[in-house]
């Protein structure tokens, strides 16, 4: 046999990280900073920080359809259309074409948003960053739902601090058990009607309202400026990519940090089809990839593998990694692989108009909202469902768009639209979804994508707990707007939303106490394939109701620390 030894040597690293999104970026940073030679294998194209943000500095008139998706885009980005914003002309270039990347909704609907390029969805995320609280980690055990988390808040707290300092989280310390404080950059400002709302809701309903805790630099420190990051400019055009590196992304923060160690190799356009399992050592020895453009198949080898392809992507790689030992997918002795898809359910809340405050205004476009932490099933509150929800929302003044619904036209009408209209206010809920083994995806046995990989088949639906919770989510939002004295309250609970709409997909390779009930252990290590780590949303055993990315960051840094110490002890 004619083996090119150099090529094989060139493709061997200390660690492989699959995916360059939020958690993959963190794995790359931590592992390279701890001395490992790391290859990050990204399935999508390369996007360079700043110069790659092709729409970032465009003026409104430079978008041919002024942002709106065309019929053609609507057809091609059919799943994205359900979100109402991802196929927008401003940032569509960072989302995947659903027609070219099909998936099957076998039962119920599932909204799957993909972003295949450097940085993945870290370029597109909502940036809200909240710690889980103590009860979030204890809830499964207490409720007898799913599996107990083998970790508690105390295990995570130092790692939350660690990642918050590096990422830069703007927020207000509140001293609440329900929403533990972190290491904060200064909080963003609040408008006059929002301050009124905050005070009234606190006084009349005893519910705290705080500024959203978001991964934006408001007062950058050396750790940030060293990487070329600077303060938020309040443009609120984040999803186009931020040329100031003001919000945390793999491109603005973790990948440059990994790159400066000179131990990082970025491999783009390479779809990991499977993890190569070695029967003798009972470890993974590498990954097999398909070049997305040339279809060339290559292999990369390493001592440890971090699978950070996004919850669904990571799990599908394990499913597709079949060997005589693991015929149903790598590490899948428990048959839990692909099960318990969770998200945060949305599309429920209330809006209203604000009377007065007509001489109040604001300067700048705040890329943030208010946040109302969970208050249901908390303390002495007890409902006919379990877990809870938080709200994001705020107030703004109507712009020219109000003209469509107004009577009139002509010179006076034209002039009136140049000034701000009345204030309006709205809050939308983010509800916890329970793990349900029947909410799952599998590899299609018959349908393959253009790379010959099985297309995924989803079966997901909301359960009675979510549906009951939504009643409260609608009612409570209206109640708070009423308490603040706002008018024309419109409470809504959309019945046609799906799991996945929150783009917080998680679960499918859950963490647990035993190989019998879960895929990964308390170190995010596949139970019996110990050099494979899963630290993205896939590992989640429950969902909390707070935005999940900060927890993925902390979990990844924690697991990387463990992996390197195990490697040094020669346990891997």
């Amino acid at each position: 046999m004619n083996i090119n030894i150099d090529a094989i040597k060139g493709q061997t690293f200390d660690a492989i990280v699959v995916g360059s999104g939020i958690s993959g970026g963190w794995a790359a940073k931590e592992l390279t900073e701890k001395g490992l030679k790391v290859a990050v294998i990204e399935r999508g194209r390369e996007i360079k920080h700043i110069e790659g943000y092709e729409t970032a500095m465009k003026h409104p008139w430079e978008f041919e359809h002024r942002g709106r998706p065309t019929n053609m885009a609507a057809e091609e980005y059919w799943a994205g259309m359900r979100t109402g914003y991802t196929p927008n002309e401003e940032h569509r270039y960072l989302f995947e074409n659903d027609k070219q990347n099909p998936y099957i909704e076998k039962k119920g609907g599932f909204d799957w948003t993909r972003a295949y390029h450097t940085g993945g969805k870290s370029l597109l995320w909502g940036r809200h960053s909240y710690r889980w609280n103590k009860q979030d980690f204890e809830a499964n055990a207490k409720d007898g739902i799913g599996t107990d988390w083998p970790i508690r808040y105390e295990d995570m707290a130092p790692w939350y601090s660690y990642v918050e300092k590096f990422a830069g989280i703007s927020g207000q310390a509140e001293g609440l058990d329900v929403l533990p404080d972190g290491e904060f950059q200064p909080a963003m400002a609040i408008t006059a009607p929002e301050m009124h709302f905050k005070n009234e809701v606190s006084k009349k309903l005893g519910r705290p309202v705080t500024l959203g805790r978001v991964a934006h630099l408001t007062n950058p420190e050396k750790v940030h400026t060293d990487l070329g990051r600077s303060s938020c400019n309040y443009r609120n055009k984040c999803m186009r990519g931020c040329p100031y590196g003001a919000y945390f992304s793999s491109l603005s923060a973790t990948l440059p940090a990994a790159m400066r160690t000179k131990r990082l190799t970025m491999v783009h356009n390479s779809i990991v089809s499977e993890i190569i399992y070695d029967e003798a050592s009972q470890k993974a020895k590498g990954v097999r990839v398909i070049d997305q453009n040339t279809m060339e198949v290559r292999e990369y080898f390493a001592k440890i593998i971090f699978v950070n392809a996004g919850a669904i992507g990571s799990t599908s790689i394990l499913m597709n990694s079949k060997s005589s030992r693991y015929q149903n997918g790598l590490g899948n002795d428990s048959d839990q692989l692909g099960r318990n898809i969770m998200d945060h359910h949305l599309g429920v809340g209330a809006s209203a108009t604000v009377e007065g405050f007509m001489d109040d205004y604001m300067f700048g476009n705040r890329p943030n909202s208010l946040y109302i932490p969970r208050f249901r099933n908390w303390g002495n509150d007890k409902r006919d469902y379990i877990r809870g929800f938080g709200y994001q929302g705020g107030a703004s003044r109507d712009g020219w768009g109000r003209g469509t619904g107004m009577d009139g036209f002509g010179a006076t009408f034209k002039e009136s639209l140049t000034q701000p209209g009345q204030w309006n206010v709205g809050f939308g809920g983010f509800g916890e979804i329970l793990p349900d083994p029947n909410n799952r995806f599998q590899l299609s046995k018959t349908v393959k994508d253009k790379w010959g990989l099985p297309v995924l088949e989803f079966e997901t639906s909301f359960g009675s707990n979510e549906l009951k919770m939504r009643e409260d989510m609608m009612h409570d939002a209206a109640e708070m707007l009423e308490a603040a004295g706002f008018k024309n309250i419109n409470a809504y609970n959309k019945s046609d939303t799906h799991i996945g709409l929150g783009i917080h997909e998680m679960g499918t390779a859950r963490m647990g106490t035993s190989v019998k009930n879960s895929i990964v252990n308390k170190h995010n290590q596949v139970h019996e394939v110990k050099n494979v780590f899963m630290t993205d949303g896939a590992a989640m055993a429950s969902a909390s109701c707070v935005n999940p990315s900060l927890t993925y960051m902390a979990m990844t840094a924690r697991a990387a620390d463990f992996a390197v110490s195990e490697l040094k002890k020669k346990n891997l």
Partner: protein, 200 residues
């Protein structure tokens, strides 16, 4: 060697982008033989004159630019072609043709304003019906009901597209707002009498 679509794209670039995306798309369809939902839409010169006149009534030239100055009529046609489907094409064309039949352009300014005022008033009833139909279809029961019926009424379409086209255009923004693409800070402020909106 490149395929036909690429070839056409290159020609389109050479002649200044004469082909818009749906046209290229339609060529693809023809080539591949696959059915795709492409709705063709265009206006005659007579129809264009009416569209321009109505848009200019909605946002007239005053001491600042009007809809025609800001290129709104062409934008309306582009948007209808690229972003709207058959029901809206039908309702829009019906609205334009009704105005042609009513000899809209032959009337004096006051007459035109009177016609559009009446049109706006009638459209309110149409919008109520339209919203009700949408609600019914919202449950995904019968999409045909919506596809087969008239779309968003003409006046509502042209008003919305005129405002979108004008207030996001360079001339419209310059004429109307304090444009601040890089605010650099966020703070609560007081609104001064007569102060224009910030646009970001």
């Amino acid at each position: 060697m490149f395929n036909r679509r690429e070839a056409v794209s290159r020609i389109a670039m050479m002649v200044g982008g004469a082909f818009t995306a749906p046209t290229l798309f339609a060529m693809d369809v023809k080539e591949s033989g696959k059915f795709l939902n492409v709705d063709l839409f265009s206006l005659t010169d007579a129809q264009r004159q009416v569209v321009a006149a109505v848009a200019e009534h909605i946002i007239p030239k005053t001491n600042t630019a009007g809809a025609i100055d800001a290129g709104v009529p062409a934008f309306i046609e582009l948007m209808l072609k690229d972003c709207y489907k058959v029901p809206e094409h039908a309702s829009f064309l019906k609205g334009v043709n009704d105005l042609i039949k009513a000899k809209f352009l032959s009337q004096n300014q006051d007459g035109q304003v009177a016609v559009l005022t009446l049109l706006e008033s009638n459209t309110k009833d149409l919008m109520r019906n339209y919203q009700q139909r949408r609600m019914k279809v919202g449950d995904n029961v019968d999409k045909e009901t919506l596809e087969g019926a008239n779309g968003v009424p003409f006046w509502r379409l042209i008003k919305e597209l005129t405002l979108l086209g004008y207030y996001t255009s360079e001339k419209g923004i310059e004429a109307s707002f304090v444009y601040q693409p890089i605010p650099g800070k966020f703070e609560a402020t007081k609104l001064l009498p007569g102060q224009k909106s910030f646009q970001y």
